[in-house]
């Protein structure tokens, strides 16, 4: 890459003799982003009723509209809602995605799949926009998930099988921050043991959760400390209770009041600090530079793109794209040709068959005709013979009749004459 090339060259550092003013660059960047507004997308994964909506309400100090879901959904779905919030002069387009029906089905083998599909779909949409010839990334509404809050049930024992399976399928696609939900049911000593057990389970099963970054000196220390407190044990509530002379967000029990923003009671404040105040931008950045890039690379490799062509020469995306398109066209043309050939071939074959059939038919016809002819001639012959016999018979009959008449007139003499004649002849 170009910047790498420059680095290797000797770049000189100079001191300036006066104030130029480019120190305002960060401010300019900040101003531009304030103008644009920010976009943040949170995915909440957890069982029905575990407190996802309540926690988000509490985090953003807003009663986002929601209703209780049923436990009897046949499969897991995702529900997304976008809100526009403003704090001082900063505008935030917040999208909250919740799982619906997670953990309710009896067969939970495929429960994680709709979540994975949703995350991939947002990556895909972004990739499509990025690949467009005429694109407008500036105004594109980025729907990629920047953080996944995974809600662990406060059993006090360990992760559930479903938790392990789901997080393993999500950890390479999204920043996961696991939280212990409804933590006011876990006592302090139990909580310590629980957190240790959960983290060791995640580590031993190779689940990669989001680590708060420690590369920036200004926040490294606090981030490192917070990393050691994971998973955060949270309690959410929008109800207010009077404690002392203030109204605070709390849950009122007969035995005491759990104050949401009291760090002795739960880790809510820590979560808010880390998620919103300190590391929101890092979460967005990680999503873009790590998770999205991974998705993009895999997707393009699937489609057959490489960075390095044959003979190890770098290949630009554009070239590869053109080559692919060409190849595709060529392929398509070839296929068309093939199909045409096949069609022609078929027609020829069919024609040949039909001709053959026709010939056969003709031969049969001739044969029959001949037979017919022969038959006719035979019959003709017979008729002729018959006719001749008839004529002969008629003649005989006529002759006999004449003869019969003559003999009637000269019976004796003729007869004797005939007889004599006959006898004389004989003698």
């Amino acid at each position: 890459s170009l910047s790498g090339y420059l680095k290797r060259e000797n770049v000189r550092s100079l001191t300036m003799s006066g104030h130029v003013g480019f120190e305002s660059l960060p401010d300019q960047l900040v101003n531009r982003s304030i103008q644009q507004g920010f976009c943040f997308n949170i995915l909440c994964v957890g069982e029905t009723g575990i407190g996802k909506s309540t926690l988000i309400d509490t985090l953003f100090n807003t009663n986002f509209e929601d209703y209780e879901s049923s436990h009897f959904c046949p499969n897991v779905k995702l529900k997304a809602q976008t809100y526009e919030l403003q704090e001082s002069n900063v505008r935030l387009k917040l999208t909250i995605v919740n799982t619906v029906g997670f953990g309710d089905q009896i067969n939970k083998e495929e429960s994680y799949q709709p979540i994975v599909d949703y995350i991939d779909a947002q990556f895909e949409a972004y990739l499509q926009e990025e690949l467009k010839i005429k694109r407008s990334l500036f105004t594109y509404h980025d729907s990629r998930i920047h953080v996944c809050l995974y809600f662990i049930s406060p059993t006090g024992h360990s992760l559930k099988t479903l938790d392990l399976l789901t997080m393993k399928n999500l950890d390479s696609k999204v920043n996961i921050i696991p939280v212990i939900a409804k933590a006011d049911t876990v006592s302090k000593t139990e909580l310590q043991k629980f957190k240790i057990k959960l983290m060791s389970e995640l580590v031993s099963n190779g689940v990669q959760i989001y680590q708060f970054p420690t590369d920036d000196d200004t926040i490294a220390k606090v981030n490192a400390a917070m990393n050691g407190q994971l998973p955060f044990a949270v309690v959410g509530s929008m109800d207010e209770v009077k404690v002392g002379n203030k109204m605070v967000k709390a849950r009122q029990y007969p035995w005491g009041v759990v104050q949401v923003e009291n760090e002795n009671h739960c880790d809510f404040v820590k979560l808010r600090e880390m998620l919103i105040c300190t590391n929101m931008e890092d979460l967005r950045e990680q999503t873009h530079t790590r998770h999205y890039e991974l998705y993009r690379r895999c997707k393009l490799e699937e489609m057959g793109f490489t960075d390095v062509g044959p003979e190890n020469k770098p290949v630009s995306l554009q070239e590869t794209y053109e080559a692919k398109r060409h190849e595709f066209h060529g392929e398509r043309q070839r296929k068309e040709e093939e199909m045409k050939q096949m069609f022609v071939q078929r027609v020829k074959e069919k024609e040949a068959i039909l001709k053959e059939a026709e010939r056969e038919l003709q031969a049969k016809f001739e044969h029959l005709k001949r037979l017919h002819q022969e038959e006719r001639m035979k019959l003709e012959e017979k008729r002729r013979l018959l006719e001749e016999e008839i004529i002969a018979f008629s003649k005989k009959k006529a002759t006999s009749e004449i003869f019969h008449g003559q003999s009637f007139l000269a019976t004796g003499s003729n007869l004797r004459k005939d007889k004599d004649r006959k006898n004389s002849n004989f003698l």
């Binding site: 059993t155 360990s158 099988t161 393993k168 006011d184 759990v258 104050q259 002795n264």
Partner: protein
């Protein structure tokens, strides 16, 4: 027609059969009592803690709780542990039947667990039937399940599909007492709402749970009131603990939080006492319902079936065995597939995430 009247003989003296109840009492103390309680619910709902709290003993001294990865390999089991506890001379032989692994499986192995549990219940009925029909009936041991505590998670909105399916599978075989676990996660308002929701859903799905009998008319008012209160609190929402905490100057069993102490035996905190009262005062009734209803159902079905056609039963047994073997093989295949999948995940996820992103 007038019903026959018992004529009270004009006895000048005392006869003595008024002492019968005492005799029954004496004999029963000598004989001792038996009770089998089945406990069913997802992992982590506090079942073991609650049982220990109820009977003020440690029924599970060497417990190892498996992690998520181990749970994948675990087959379904039934574990019965029997203890003998005594109070003021009265001996109770208590058997607690556990079903570890319930609700852990993420595929259809869950349903196979139902069959295992139902088979267990039937087996106890079968054994009792056999013993009862035998020649020597001196020492019949009653291992039939008299009561099943079904633990409902307080973290959801009510019953889940698994809960409904299971209760419907056993409600004709055992007395079901639904219990809302870890009740210290619910405020009073949430608790009432959840109880009502669960009762509605039980009715909606026609699930038969154990009904406490109304108090007899000759019982005293306190008892009647207690029964009314008990009935109104079902399903009980409970908290269990065997740890002693210092609260309000005395030691109580409870759970210590930064914001207060949940007292197990405080009726304003949870229904633990009600559950214990119900169990103790109705132990005999639970046994009777098991005997008169569930067992008799089983027995009549069994005798109808088993009376004639004995050879068919043997053949059916072989067939059932084959079917069960096939089922087992299928289950094992499923487990193997899942394990293979998890193995492939683990191999693919090392380094800084720059490795293969695809999941197979």
């Amino acid at each position: 027609q007038q019903p026959t009247q018992f004529i009270n003989p004009e006895t000048p003296g005392y006869v003595g059969f008024a002492n019968l109840p005492n005799q029954v009492h004496r004999k029963s103390v000598k004989k001792g009592f038996e009770f089998t309680l089945m406990v069913v619910g997802e992992s982590g709902l506090g079942k073991s803690t609650l049982i220990n709290s109820l009977f003020l003993t440690d029924l599970y001294p060497e417990r190892v709780i498996p992690g998520a990865a181990e749970k994948i390999e675990r087959t379904v089991q039934i574990e019965a542990s029997t203890v003998e506890i005594e109070e003021r001379g009265v001996k109770l032989r208590l058997t607690v039947v556990d079903t570890p692994g319930y609700g852990d499986a993420i595929n259809w192995i869950c349903i196979c667990l139902f069959n295992t549990i139902i088979s267990y219940i039937d087996e106890q009925f079968e054994r009792y039937l056999h013993d009862e029909s035998g020649l020597n009936r001196r020492h019949i041991i009653d291992n039939r399940v008299h009561c099943c505590f079904y633990f409902i998670s307080p973290f959801g909105h009510g019953l889940k599909p698994l809960d409904v399916a299971f209760m419907k599978a056993i409600h004709n075989k055992v007395n079901i007492v639904p219990v809302i676990a870890k009740a210290d996660t619910l405020t009073l308002k949430e608790r009432e709402r959840l109880k009502k929701r669960i009762l509605d859903e039980i009715e909606e799905h026609n699930i038969k749970i154990y009904h406490l009998p109304d108090a007899e008319s000759d019982e005293d008012e306190d008892f009647k009131e207690q029964t009314r209160l008990l009935k109104a609190s079902i399903p009980f929402s409970v908290v269990g603990s065997n740890q002693l905490i210092e609260a309000k100057g005395k030691k109580v069993r409870g759970r210590l939080y930064p914001w207060g102490v949940v007292e197990v035996e405080n009726p304003e905190h949870n229904d633990f006492l009600k559950l214990r009262t119900m169990l103790i005062t109705h132990m005999q009734d639970l046994q009777e319902v098991t005997q008169d209803l569930h067992y008799e159902n089983f027995r009549s079905e069994r005798l109808k079936r088993g009376g004639r056609k004995v050879e068919n039963e043997d053949m059916n047994k072989d067939q059932i065995l084959l079917e069960k073997e096939a089922e087992l093989r299928r289950m094992q295949e499923m487990i193997a597939r899942m394990q293979a999948q998890m193995q492939m995940q683990m191999q693919g996820g090392d380094g800084d995430g720059g490795a293969l992103g695809h999941h197979v």
